[in-house]
């Protein structure tokens, strides 16, 4: 019993210390990853991309000779743990933070604004792009609303009048619905929103609604595994409706899970796929992964997404250093807001941030699954108003 007590005391002391050794002259950044939670499928390669970019920078001399100390941990998509880790890292004086999902991004956006810490995550809700609402959040991907509107534009150009948005039954899922409806109304189209129940193994009922409404296109705002179930059901029912995946089912996992049903599915992906030949992938990412013995094809598009997101933050830091300013979150924020046509090496459209708009990415390319790989189908399509 006494031994147990001793152990508990030691563990508590360790928790209180927070571990880690603070070295002077490193640039401190914090982050959270979902490696074990419900979104770990996409969360793990995204996290690897972020962490590997840091390794890449540090191996190449860091930022102006200073190494980056990136502190990050798994939070299993639990908001409390995200808050714990965030405050743990801010008490170590980090100057930038990498989040992940909708839950943690929403929970922390007030805090990061108070603490003046630039925040990037893989949640692309339109509200996060408005500096009046979320002054320290920066969006690297096209906003969900933007992705949906681009998909609608494509459908309209191909003669569609009715489009169904089948979405995850959550704020993440419904995020693009209102903006999409407004756009459709202004452009003489109709959009119907159909929630996809969590954990469903059959979407026949939902697809019947699609058929009844006479929709020619189904846009999917959901993650890969339910989207794959949906693709299979569309195939099984012999529907000739064209499916368009937004960001979170535009990945290799979707193709793997859907098998033949993935053929012909269009992907509205803000990020270039591994095989796209984008200069950043070929000149920077692939040499790194080959040297480190990482299978880039297996990591997939979310790895590239994480890499580019971290790269933007680090380039913001470089900008501050180049200007000779003090390295603070506030200065990085100012530097990022000055980025015009920032090149991501063709992984995304060039990014432009201003003090009134943090949706840096306003265009994306459509891809189509052919023989199990995403092939580029169109050039960049810009979100029209």
């Amino acid at each position: 019993m006494k031994k147990l007590l001793l152990l508990v005391i030691v563990l508590l002391a360790l928790a209180a210390c927070g571990g880690g050794n603070d070295e002077e002259d490193t640039i401190k950044l914090g982050g959270i990853h979902d490696l074990t939670g419900p979104t770990s499928d996409a969360g793990t390669p995204y996290a690897d991309g972020i962490r590997d970019y840091i390794k890449f920078v540090n191996a190449n001399g860091g930022v102006d000779g200073r190494q980056i100390d990136f502190m990050s941990q798994d939070y299993a998509y639990a908001v409390d743990q995200a808050e714990q880790l965030y405050s743990q890292y801010t008490s170590k004086e980090i100057i930038g933070f990498q989040g992940w999902g909708t839950g943690d991004t929403e929970a922390l956006r007030g805090r990061v604004a108070e603490d003046k810490i630039p925040f990037m995550s893989a949640s692309y809700s339109e509200t996060l792009a408005d500096p009046a609402e979320a002054p320290y959040n920066f969006l690297v991907g096209t906003s969900y609303s933007g992705q949906f509107i681009i998909a609608l534009q494509y459908a309209k150009d191909n003669g569609a009048t009715t489009v169904a948005l089948m979405h995850h039954d959550s704020p993440f899922g419904t995020s693009p619905l209102a903006d999409g409806k407004a756009w459709a109304e202004a452009n003489g189209m109709e959009v119907i929103g159909i929630p996809m129940p969590k954990g469903a193994s059959d979407f026949t009922a939902e697809l019947t609604q699609v058929t009844d409404a006479g929709a020619e296109y189904i846009v999917v705002q959901n993650v890969s595994s339910p989207a794959a179930t949906l693709a299979k059901d569309i195939n099984r029912l012999g529907m000739d409706t064209q499916m368009i995946c937004l960001n979170w089912c535009s990945d290799e996992l979707f193709v793997e899970l859907s098998g033949d049903a993935a053929e012909g599915v269009i992907a509205a992906s803000p990020f270039a796929f591994v095989n796209s030949g984008a200069s950043l992938i070929e000149d920077e990412i692939r040499p790194y992964t080959e040297e480190a013995g990482i299978d880039l094809e297996a990591k997939g598009v979310h790895y590239i997404q994480g890499w580019v997101t971290m790269r933007l933050m680090v380039d913001g830091i470089r900008e501050v250093v180049a200007n000779g300013d003090e390295l603070t979150g506030e200065n990085i924020h100012a530097a990022l807001e000055g980025f015009t046509n920032y090149s991501t090496g063709d992984v995304t459209t060039p990014l432009t941030f201003t003090s009134s708009d943090h949706a840096g990415n306003k265009a994306l390319r459509l891809y189509q699954v052919k023989n199990g790989v995403h092939e580029q189908m169109t050039d960049y399509i810009k979100v029209s108003d």
Partner: protein
């Protein structure tokens, strides 16, 4: 060494902490709690505040589950009502934040009592499912309701007292500490009243309680209301502290982890709820820091730790259920009993 506690008058008999050692321990804890914010950094304060809020919620649930014997899986939903209630009153009606917290608690009490109505007919597993339904209904209503902002997070302006912003970790610590103290005193004393004793009678044997003249239905619903009020109170504090209310925080996982706090801490023990809240909220932090600390010598720890962290939650619950079903409160009691008679225990 003491041979027993002997009371010579009624006033002494009513004391919660009759012996000098008990009083000493209480003073020690109070002093510790008062000194803590001056020596702790922001991270430790965040942890403390989280523990405090969860402790309040766990005490609330313990009134229902530990003392009245009615299981509930709707804790997350009730916390959400408290949080949204408080947040919406501030943002829509412009009420001062300190006024919204008790009102939100009252609203949660009413809704809790409503969802407690099936407890007249349902027991055990059936009641668990009925309260699970409450959790789902509340979550659904929040996402769909036009008032809550639905898909968008509800932003609550920072609470102030006399112009001082309270939502910082250090300032809010005091609000949580005072709230926790009030809730603890309320709960401890509740079980010395007619109402509290009726709760315990129902837990121990509801038929016997009814025969003794306890109105089982009334007291069950009352227990739901009281418990929900305290849980809603915790939710309201969370909304004010964090400034942003999002439904994703109040899912079934929260209900389960608070239930775990109550079970690990000790069913039917107010202090146990606090121990449980400490253990369950600090366990991930302890393990992740342990992983980081060990990763210097064993780099693989960093990749394995997240999985250990996940598994540990289950392991801890199973170990407690096997070795000490009465929880940390019982372990602490055993330690105290051991030393009370030490070294001449028999």
């Amino acid at each position: 060494m003491e041979s027993g506690v002997f009371h010579s008058n009624y006033k002494k008999d009513m004391e919660l902490r009759p012996t000098p050692i008990m009083k000493g321990r209480l003073v020690f804890v109070i002093v510790l709690a008062l000194i803590f914010p001056f020596v702790a950094n922001n991270y430790q304060l965040t942890l403390a505040n989280q523990v405090g809020i969860f402790a309040i919620a766990a005490i609330g649930l313990n009134i229902l589950t530990g003392f009245t014997g009615q299981i509930s899986l709707g804790t997350g939903g009730f916390m959400a009502i408290g949080a949204y209630g408080s947040g919406l009153l501030v943002t829509n009606l412009g009420m001062p934040w300190w006024m919204t917290v008790p009102i939100a608690s009252l609203v949660t009490a009413v809704i809790g009592a409503f969802f407690g109505l099936p407890s007249l007919r349902l027991k055990g597993l059936y009641l668990a499912i009925a309260t699970l339904a409450a959790q789902q209904v509340i979550e659904w209503a929040i996402i769909r309701s036009p008032f809550t902002g639905g898909v968008e997070a509800l932003v609550v302006p920072s609470p102030t007292i006399l112009g001082v912003r309270m939502s910082t970790d250090a300032n809010f610590y005091w609000i949580i500490l005072i709230s926790l103290a009030i809730v603890v005193m309320f709960a401890v004393n509740l079980f010395r009243t007619k109402i509290g004793r009726a709760f315990i009678a129902i837990r121990d044997q509801d038929i016997a309680a009814e025969v003794m003249g306890v109105n089982v239905f009334l007291y069950k619903v009352m227990s739901f209301a009281l418990s929900s009020a305290i849980i809603g109170f915790a939710g309201a504090l969370l909304a004010q502290y964090r400034g942003i209310v999002n439904y994703e925080r109040f899912t079934i996982e929260l209900s389960i982890s608070i239930l775990a706090m109550v079970i690990i801490g000790g069913l039917g023990s107010v202090s146990g709820s606090i121990y449980g809240a400490i253990l369950i909220s600090l366990l991930p932090a302890i393990l992740s820091n342990l992983g980081t600390a060990m990763s210097d010598s064993i780099p693989a720890m960093l990749t394995i730790m997240p999985f250990i962290q996940k598994g540990m939650f289950g392991v801890v619950i199973i170990l407690f259920l096997i070795f000490e079903p009465e929880g940390i409160a019982k372990i602490w009691k055993n330690i105290k009993d051991y030393f009370r008679l030490w070294p001449f225990s028999y």
